[in-house]
């Protein structure tokens, strides 16, 4: 019984919750709390589904009943083990893909980039204003010479603060975690909007760091200046639609109050307690 309920709650958390969360743009006003809510939801869902097998097995112990129970428990155990191995395999695949791509990218930067400030900043000579960061080992921010020449000092500060927030807070790991969760869910259950929303929240979080450093206006100006500047050859159409506009709109609204974040954190605690709650209810 407990096992069935665990699976039900787990599936609900993995499938329905992301759809609900990505339909609540208000959450973007407290990006840190919102990201934690996303993480907790994904983690609690996974824990529920994986715990269902062992719980089912324990519930029919000792095995002195009819064979059907034993068979059910075995099926549950196998399903749990399968979920766990799926997550581990995907984690490995995503991790190796990312790290080898970054290694190749760093090798390329070695040939065309100039390192400044002990290798934390790389400048490449190009007529397109670009700014990005390469996370992981030997992390760095990369700017093109056009960015340096076209952006005033305060806007450059905003861009750098944004990228350093990504690197300093290891947003890449968050993204990796959600990519793994996304891939591990069955194709007909998962929603692409969820991953897109998480990507946006990470940008909003980095924007907030930039806002605190330089204020809203330099960041907003830098967004506009760099938005139209990426070259057509770099456009493969894989951009998350409307992200830029959403970030801009957030800059035009007042930052959320502490109450807003506190409300989201309360939700985080509730969701986090769900697996334990299900166990406590039925034991």
């Amino acid at each position: 019984m407990t096992a069935i309920l665990l699976v039900a709650v787990g599936v609900l958390l993995v499938t329905t919750a992301p759809r609900v969360l990505s339909a609540l743009p208000g959450l973007r006003r407290s990006p840190r709390a919102a990201l934690l809510l996303w993480q907790t939801t994904a983690l609690a869902g996974t824990v529920c589904v994986i715990a269902a097998g062992p719980v089912a097995a324990i519930s029919i112990w000792p095995l002195d009943r009819r064979g059907i129970d034993v068979a059910a428990a075995l099926v549950a155990l196998v399903a749990s083990a399968q979920c766990l191995s799926l997550i581990l395999v995907n984690g490995h695949l995503v991790g190796t893909t990312l790290r080898s791509a970054r290694r190749r990218h760093r090798a390329l930067l070695r040939l065309v980039g100039d390192d400044h400030r002990d290798g934390r900043l790389t400048i490449v000579e190009h007529h397109t204003p670009t700014a990005y960061c390469v996370p992981g080992r030997r992390r760095r921010v990369v700017l093109s010479t056009a960015t340096l020449s076209e952006l005033p000092e305060d806007e450059l500060d905003a861009v750098l603060a944004h990228e350093r927030a990504h690197l300093g807070e290891r947003h890449d790991l968050l993204l990796e975690y959600f990519t793994v969760a996304h891939r591990s869910a069955p194709r007909w259950l998962r929603s692409d909007r969820a991953l897109s929303e998480v990507r946006l929240l990470i940008e909003v979080l980095a924007d907030r760091a930039a806002r605190q450093r330089t204020g809203d206006v330099p960041l907003a100006r830098a967004l506009v200046r760099l938005a139209g500047s990426r070259t057509p050859e770099a456009m493969l159409g894989a951009a998350d639609e409307a992200h830029v506009a959403a970030r801009m709109d957030l800059l035009a609204t007042r930052p959320a109050s502490a109450w807003h974040a506190a409300g989201v954190y309360t939700l985080v605690v509730l969701v986090g307690l769900l697996p334990a709650g299900v166990l406590a209810l039925t034991m």
């Binding site: 990218h105 400048i123 397109t128 947003h171 991953l195 206006v217 830029v244």
Partner: protein, 153 residues
Amino acid sequence: MPSARSSLGSLERSVMDVLWAGPEAGLTVREVLERIETGKDLAYTTVMTVLTRLADKGVLEREQDGRAWRYRAAQSRQQMTAEAMRDPLESIPHEEKTSAILHFIEEATPAEIASLRAALDAVETRAAEAPKATGQTESTSSRSVVPLRRRRR
């Protein structure tokens, strides 16, 4: 040994600079060695090792010229830089989308850029009305973030 690796990295960079500045037909190891300016004496074998490694990676093309190999860059500096500014994972299917690098901004369509400008006006208006509400900290210490002149190495 990170120091050894980074010095080899900067040597790769110097070698590419020499080849990009050199003739179309490419250069031999001896010619690269003559032109390279690293401020220290390099061994012939060191330069040859770097060239061979870059050729193995496909960064350089080489062809036999008499008894020596001629090396030349497979791509121009601009082509290679443009490649560096793209996400290496950009071509994987969208639903599996993951990023090796995090861009400050994704591409925007012309329509989006127009609405961005309108939104920028709103941000600037709000900042002008309530200078305190924007969290602006007047940082008067205008330390230059980066040396604005490109350092040639």
